[in-house]
Symmetry: D2
Subunit: 364 residues, 4 copies
């Protein structure tokens, strides 16, 4: 159960979905960064269940408390512990199927691995675990913003087969994205997505899709070849989120259909720096950022919990029918947006610190 | 420059493509495993340049020497150092463009990050770095085979827009895959792929595509939630390979178009164990292996080196034309097969050891 | 600020002495271990300030709350978060010298390193940080006790120049040690030590000394050469405690006066196992436990806070006089006993898990 | 078998004493540092066996070869692999007692842990393993010298009961230390030490003692509370060396006899910086360097190999007599000097890089 992520900007999350609390310890945040509990809360509110008609109805305020590491509004350089109490945990909802393995959930594998399981909700496999990530991500994001004016934005680019038009990665704004409950930058597409999700929800079914991510205003030089290439750590970050199934960077899967003569990004002198005329590399070459925007796409499967009867087995290995209850998301994508942004911020902040060590450790 | 990978089965690679040698140190391999230099060499031979008409002509025998950690044919439990001398390094090939940034290569970002670069070849960003991975992977593979009869197979599933039919992941064999130089299990498709690559090569261009991977005969319980989920570590492993652009696990991107009622894998009792009737989860649920085959797909971009004139800039920031020379692969996919197999083996061996710690650390 | 310790049984502590709370997250504890908050509290009570006339008067109940990772009295294999609220924090005590550097404290170096400091108390350099270690240590100790009947005992072996007679490391008992407030196994010596500490306290001064530690009933094979030798990790563990100045293992410093012919531990067959007739190795050879008792000694300096005027400088670099206030220990040793026991347990539990990976990862 | 040390300046050593080669991979050294193989060789020559009448007669030239990471005399920022071939390995010397456990050696514990052992010499437990450390230490030392003019010096301060007078830590010089074969800064004491070692050697016995270490010209701020305190990492570094039994920092064990009023280091303004009038803290407060010289003492036991008959047991558990052969050091101390210097340099270089990350990661 490795709940620690990052080398220098390092987080450790804790907490089960229906235990006492969930939270995070951030170790390695540089000192003297201004941070308020409100800034952290703002990101948690974007992740919060019950925020709209198309998310789960679980009513969690998800109120963050900072236990350590911040003094008079600034970080101390010491571990920042943040805790969120579980309030609306209805463990009893899970009582009827506590020994039945929900299909495509982690019940069976947790039982097989640990020989014990908090059957009240998803335990650590629940999306509630990401509260700690989002809280920590708010700090990482602030650090990068202060240093470079870095902006990290994500939006829902596709729900099932409803795709949004590709925005200009340099211009897409948080305002556009947050303007609707599905978090799609394109208003017309958003409406169709919302209609689809509502329709799916009414049938007790669920639906997947993709989110796109851009990180812009970044320095050159982030990423540590060969194993800790920037895209490698970003891929791990995204694929560690519940329900993610695919990761693409830059031109992604589409780029693999091209010829080298079509795919290569040609360098030119922008007047201020060396840039590339296209950005199929997604801002990363050889595992190192080149100061073009970092672009990624992450695919999420349809949520495994559906309110339909399904065949499964129980702990005794007997084949049984399962009829789930509980409050769940018909589509994880709108709430995945703050999660992937947080994970992006955490990876970039970590590599920013690692790069400082190398740059300032070198002899000039 | 983080060249270490793995927690308990840990490798550290070293070496530039045109320096004295490349190699690896494997730390944490359990003792008493029978391993011969021939077994390691066999995997290196699959990765070797110059192995066929559709790979680079660089003539490297890539002969492995074991310097430590093996005694009388068995591992000691101590670090296993393996070294491969560079033989056919023609650094002078690179002289004409030593200060010109090759498009979509790592020249510019390495210069920006390190302020120095071994301009003779790709240095650490070269695919030669993967020699250490493949050598170490041969040991990891042996360990898993001995314990579980694990088989790890990869094949080229698509070159540009030529796709192979999907094989049965339980039946596809190494013999089928190794029967042709492009390493596609389907002979007819292989022929078309080879023709395409030869045609592309003759034009000095390059082409990308995908490889598929299956790992079968695995125990339940591998993978460490929440950050070191099995698919997260596999994603990082694959995205740390040169030229990889996308990673998919199980149903991957296609699965994100489905509804939950279509996507969920229903459990049943196989008579011997709890299995799933479909395997859209790709053998992993909640980050933990469920003993179904692990299935993945990795996309590789077209090789950046093309023998055509391209616009770029030099170290001084001046816009110049680049006409590459050197010996390069028109398509990385056939040689990527042993690389992705090695990375898969390394991740699984590491998680196997981690799982032993937990299982045998628990009170029964 | 690296607040994480251990490879597989890994703890992360957090909290300032006068912030909201202190605590710990334990990641990697095997599942299904029975543990109660009372068992954790029992160890915290031994560490608690205000427990006797010879410790600081700060009145902290140090009540532990388990936030996660335990379900129905047993560990889940998931992170165990434990938090202790600070109750009797009187930050205002520190107001008068908030900008004066207390001699041999960490005020100056924290300011120099971080450029900010929680001047209310010692912050992270306070012994309150060890609450997290002691709480986590209670779990590690339980794990070892369940597996091997391991006992980890420490006692005050010397205060200033008052030395206790060396007990038989196989027989010394917790009852003897806990029979007096200074935690010396020898009652007569304890009395003299207590008198000395009281006398020192009345003068506003402080005093140092040594604690001895024994860990018995341990398996052979713990310890990972070459850098993570068992004594190396134990040394790091002890030297990371506030105020520790020296570490010895086995024959320690005294042993360095002997000849090889006097120092070597001769092997013999105990009938049940291979043992050594003497134990100058302190239970560790080549960095690996040999199943003899592990014996160590740790020296602690006199507490830096003394209630006497001292010359120092302030943040502006001006030479000033400091007259400390606050509530402090005249001698850290009695409360160091549970700390060194906890650190010993943490190192041994971690190496126990690491050894399981190797043992069960090997082919038989 | 954890053979990796360091967080950012990270080394991995490999090699058995009588295998093909020993060596090291240094990962994380900043780029553009001038380093030559001669500088590395110079340190290896100080560690080399056969260097004088009072060391083992094994005739190893210990010639270093750099395989990677250095280009045109400067580091690339990529892994630096250094290899030393074993030349004078006489494994057959060990044949007669290959199944007898040498007292106070690691034969028994290696067998118990790994179930296999390279019985030709000490394998990884041999002091030959430190070749990699010393080679890497030469690079770390150069890095610190270039940045700060840091000097790291060690000398033999005691052999058995022959103690040298304490030198001024600011003035003791490498010339004084290297002026004699025992590496004691005081010529008269050195002579007595050498006589004692020769006498001990003639009897086939061995002898222990202490080395002292000073590191001067260091910046303020190195060290990462709470677990990676500078003295904690130094303690681990030293206690990971073969035969070390004790570690002291600053006033060490002697300081624990003092009162706080006697022990505290009073601050004053040196005119250039904030200094302390005494240095009982050994240059470290709260785990962080304060720019006073770092002072340490390490105790080494008498070498376990003595040329005298000893009672022991064999692999079958039978009690047998052992009469060792082979070529060994009667006293490890003169050769320990370059080892402890190297370990000091490695810890300081690592913390220097870690500190750069924090300092330059902070907002100004």
């Amino acid at each position: 159960m490795s709940s620690t992520f990052g080398t220098l900007f390092r987080i450790s999350t804790f907490g089960e979905s229906h235990g006492g609390a969930v939270g995070v310890v951030v170790d390695g945040c540089p000192p003297r960064l201004e941070i308020s509990v409100e800034e952290i809360q703002a990101e948690l509110d974007r992740r919060r269940p019950g925020q709209s008609q198309i998310t789960t109805a679980r009513a969690e305020p998800d109120t963050a408390e900072i236990l350590s590491g911040v003094f008079e509004g600034r970080t101390l350089g010491t571990p920042i512990a943040i805790v969120v109490r579980n309030k609306d945990a209805r463990g009893s909802d899970y009582e009827p199927f506590k020994d039945k393995y929900r299909p495509s959930h982690a019940d069976f594998t947790y039982d097989a691995k640990y020989g014990i399981r908090n059957w009240r909700g998803g335990g650590r496999s629940s999306a509630r675990e990401t509260i700690g990530r989002v809280a920590a991500g708010a700090i990482a994001r602030k650090l990068l913003a202060k240093h470079f004016g870095t902006e990290i934005l994500s939006w829902v680019s596709r729900v099932a087969d409803i795709s949004a038009p590709q925005p200009d990665p340099l211009k897409v704004s948080r305002e556009e994205i947050e303007a609707n409950i599905v978090r799609c930058h394109d208003a017309a597409t958003a409406e169709r997505m919302i209609d689809l999700i509502k329709s799916i929800k009414s049938k007790g079914d669920s639906v997947g899709g993709t989110v796109d991510i851009v990180a812009r205003n970044l320095p050159t030089g982030l990423g540590e070849p060969v194993f800790d290439k920037l895209e490698a750590d970003l891929a791990k970050a995204m694929m560690s989120l519940p329900a993610s199934k695919s990761f693409e960077v830059g031109s992604g899967l589409e780029g693999t259909y091209l010829k080298g003569s079509e795919h290569n990004d040609l360098y030119y002198n922008t007047g201020e720096r060396i840039g590339t005329r296209t950005n199929r590399s997604g801002g990363i070459q050889g595992g190192i950022s080149n100061s073009e925007p970092i672009t990624m796409r992450v695919g999420f499967k349809p949520v495994a919990t559906i309110l339909m009867p399904q065949q499964t087995v129980n702990q005794a290995g007997e084949e049984v029918e399962l009829m789930p209850r509980g409050r769940h998301d018909p589509c994880v994508l709108p709430r995945a947006v703050p999660m992937v942004e947080a994970m992006t911020a955490l990876v970039l902040a970590d590599h920013f610190l690692r790069q400082q060590a190398m740059t300032h450790g070198a002899i000039d």
